[in-house]
Symmetry: C2
Amino acid sequence: MKQFFKILKKSKKSRARLGLIKTPHGRIKTPAFLPVATQATIKSLSPADLKEIGFEALLCNTYHLYLRPGHKIVQQLGGLHKFMNWPGPIVTDSGGFQVFSLGFGLEQEIGKIGGFFPGQAEQPKTVKPKLAKIDEQGVEFRSHLDGSKHRLTPQKSIQIQEALGADIILAFDECTSPLATKEYTRRATDRTHRWAEICLKAKKRKDQALFGIIQGGQWKDLRIESARFISQLPFDGLAIGGSLGKTKKDMYKILDWVIAEMPPEKPRHLLGIGQPIDLNKAVAQGIDLFDCVYPTRLARHGVFLTERGRLNILNSAFRQDKKPIMNGCSCYTCQNFSRAYLHHLFKAKEMLGPRLATFHNLWLIARLMERIRKEIREDKK
Amino acid sequence: MKQFFKILKKSKKSRARLGLIKTPHGRIKTPAFLPVATQATIKSLSPADLKEIGFEALLCNTYHLYLRPGHKIVQQLGGLHKFMNWPGPIVTDSGGFQVFSLGFGLEQEIGKIGGFFPGQAEQPKTVKPKLAKIDEQGVEFRSHLDGSKHRLTPQKSIQIQEALGADIILAFDECTSPLATKEYTRRATDRTHRWAEICLKAKKRKDQALFGIIQGGQWKDLRIESARFISQLPFDGLAIGGSLGKTKKDMYKILDWVIAEMPPEKPRHLLGIGQPIDLNKAVAQGIDLFDCVYPTRLARHGVFLTERGRLNILNSAFRQDKKPIMNGCSCYTCQNFSRAYLHHLFKAKEMLGPRLATFHNLWLIARLMERIRKEIREDKK
């Protein structure tokens, strides 16, 4: 994986970098946002749509594809690229986040910042049975599809990701709950470090890049320790995972601690974060890669991203509104449909609604990332 | 509406005709199939998709659009074409079929042929409360959305359709149950005839064509009487509605009775029929226009149409099948995805599944209609 990542320019105004990741399936201009194709599809969109929007790479979820259709079937069908007909670079996560979020996230409805997923209630409403059991070797969990028992270990995660065949794969880590104590988080972070070394040893394919994941929760010493430990291992890139504090301010502070310890020559992936404001700020802190369900999940609930904030199309104010979602937006949705029509589609639960919303939201994010790269090039960011 | 319909060629082999319908929003080459955009959208597809598939015209449902978003809102937004961003010809039905099928169809799960919708059980399973009450002036019914009371009359149906602004609108008829007695069907058909005259008088807009609807159920004398009565009124075109017997053979026989009485110079629309075999046969009997939810509804259930019959993609035999849905099909779906991937999308309930299936099924029907027109041109049909 020589010259896997090349930094083309460092900003004079911030720690932002302009880079290029080379993979067997093409290049990724960084900073880049990766839309999430959980089940090997960006919900409602075709690969042709994604090409039109201008994305170069996607992220797929190992946990979901392992359970359905199964990594061996994907492998027999020629790997993820061929399976989903996406010719560009693909990243797979390790399955860790999903397995653990079934253990603590679904249980307590907890997200990555502030303890809650954006848009969710402030207080956990339901307590669901714990679906994951952890030990030193791995995690035992039950499928959310049929309740069947499964076990994921660092070795198994790498095997699955090698079968799926993405260009960039992630080490298997323990993603701790934001409600975990410091003592527990320390033990989990140490385990993640041991698993990181196991993942490096388990990896057989030479054509995939492997990223390590930095954990440590909200604690400065744990984060710095984890950043140092993971950074000295021979990973092709580094990812920042786990809980990022209670507020956005916490997150930016944690990123500052961690990024200061990361080697400049390796690409840095901030896992699961993707609100426009975060993309802007984290790039200036030195992040190169993002993935997040934020734009696509909101879209399916009728929430459109605009330069002036979110617009909930189900609001009755839009019932007779002839304007497009966002003035000046050149996406297919804004060029062709009124807010009133989109309101109707969502009210009538028509599939075209989520599709047009997903297209718009991803278009907006793609244009934002283009603008960010341009600003770095021109030393404006 | 001069030169609304022009017959370009009559087949030497059958009663098939090649024609051209001119509307304010463009021409329709006939015989033509109109996909059904019930709520002002062909479920899951964009207008750009429909253009790519090659359809010239669509049919929208007045009943649904009257209830949501409401015809006045559509009118304020510039009419259906602008609302849904479909620049080509649009047909609206009268609302009659839906209102009555809520009365007898939903109640007894009854379709247009054989008393049952295709693919449904042979025996009515549930008896739902009657939602429609009929009198000489019109029909009172309850909304399937919120149970609210509404009344539809011939005058009201025309007013709604004028507000919606389609290029071709339909007279309000009573669509009787296939289980109705001959005596009841006779009275209903007479009422449909009186309503036909009311619709012609109620019509104000000069830029819309109005089609009359022939009823009469499965009885030869009633069908012939209705065909004669509706044919002598100054409609721009004629549609064949109502129950078409118990078998396909019954339907072809009924079409023979009716078409023999219809003036050759007016376009003939067979309402709600659209299986490939029916399109082929009814064209040879002299039908010019079709509309049907058949290809799009099947698609949403994972059933793909092929030249060798239907293919239910949920069948586990397709789990690892690398082949496309149909060899030789040049649609986006067949050119880019395997049966295994489509099986996965439907199993995982991913929106892209119905979208790719709808695209393929409509592509197949569009190619079939092209082939039919070519065969008439070459005297092969």
